[in-house]
Amino acid sequence: MNDMKSMPDNTLNSPERRRFIGTATAAAGVALIPGVMLFEVAHGRPEDQAVSSAVRWGMLIDATRCATGCDDCVSACSTENGWTPVAESQHPRQAPQWIRKLELQDPLTQKETNLPMLCQHCGDAPCIDVCPTGASFRRADGIVLVNRHTCIGCRYCMMACPYKARSLVHEPLNDTQKPDVPRGVGCVEACTFCVQKLDRGDGTTACAEACTAAGNDAILFGDMNDPDSAIAKRLRELPTKEVRADLNLDLSVRYHGI
């Protein structure tokens, strides 16, 4: 059923076809029904249509622009998604963190590198392989998520993840969750690429917005499948790396300058 559904979707939404439809309808829409077109463009896809693999969300992190001592991306994530910043937590060693700032130094050359580390949204994710209940899954648009309705909190995925990207919620949250971001005690969670923002049509994440607002522009977010998107263009120009590329996990987050 899923195959039947996704196959025609893929052919319909090939980048060339989407671009053609985009320009054609944009021209028609401006002339005929500007209000409706604005809505369509802003949302990307109709509200009642499932996400498709025509889009692959991805992130490019330019470590050469990531500033020492700046953790705006981390605090923006915490504000958007409602997790308590680790410094404010009563149990910092257990506290969930969806994104964290790493400051590294090469012991030989003393070269310092800053970078944010988060869920890399692998194409072949180890967390999905090991999940005993199928709660870890990859959405058609490339976002790796935890379905909290089926998560039993066994933490196999946390052990399997090479990036230490996942956390378990140890403490009851006592109704402090954001309405758009359900979270709960006993479930594993991680970066969701701000899925609530993407489904709303924002097309970006809280961390990327914060990094741009701070003037660093180290985080670029977008659709890697769309050859005209800023991220796809930048990825074509810039030499980038996957962290632990040896694991061959087909990551959606790529780093420059590491």
Binding site: E47, D48, Q49, A50, V51, F137, R139, A140, D141, L145, N147, R148, H149, D175, Q177, K178, P179, D180, P182, R183, G184, V185, C187, V195, L198, D199
Partner: protein, 161 residues
């Protein structure tokens, strides 16, 4: 003498009837009836009340999988929209106090709700800030008039079947 007997029988029958009447579980159970407060926003629910009372869990379950797995966030059966309309004016929540919309019925029916282990029980922003309040200020007098309508035992029995 016969008259006296008849009178005695009548008194006994009346007493027996009164006793039987007082044994009616609806009157003596001591469980507080659910308080159903009319939603602040809108005239009616997305489906008729009877349907929603029996089937809200089914539509929510269906919607939940579509939203999590496929990113379909239509508003009609979304839990967030339930909360937007049914959050109590007093607590700003559907499950904070025992008279709030979800808790009231669920504690009467003795069915545990798991939704709010993870989901927020409050609409986005504070109640004062929420657009539904600006939109629905004109319902305030209606709310005051029919603030707490108790559900009849027959209605609840209908739900249980």
């Amino acid at each position: 003498m016969k008259r006296l007997l008849a009178l005695g029988a009548a008194i006994l029958t009346a007493a027996a009837l009164a006793w039987a009447g007082s044994d009616d579980p609806a009157k003596t159970s001591g469980v507080p009836k659910p308080v159903i407060t009319k939603a602040i926003k809108g005239e009616h629910c997305v489906e008729p009340n009877d349907f929603m009372r029996r089937n809200h869990m089914k539509v929510l379950l269906h919607q939940r999988d579509e939203t999590v797995l496929d990113g379909i966030r239509t508003k009609k059966y979304s839990l967030k929209e339930c909360i937007n309309c049914h959050a109590s004016e007093k607590t700003g929540s559907v499950a904070a106090s025992k008279d709030d919309f979800c808790v009231s019925c669920h504690s009467y029916a003795s069915v545990k709700i798991d939704c709010f282990d993870c989901h927020s029980t409050k609409p986005q922003g504070s109640m004062a800030m929420h657009p539904l309040n600006a939109e629905t200020a004109h319902y305030a007098h209606k709310l005051a008039a029919q603030a707490h309508s108790k559900v009849s035992a027959e209605e609840m029995a209908g739900i249980a079947q």
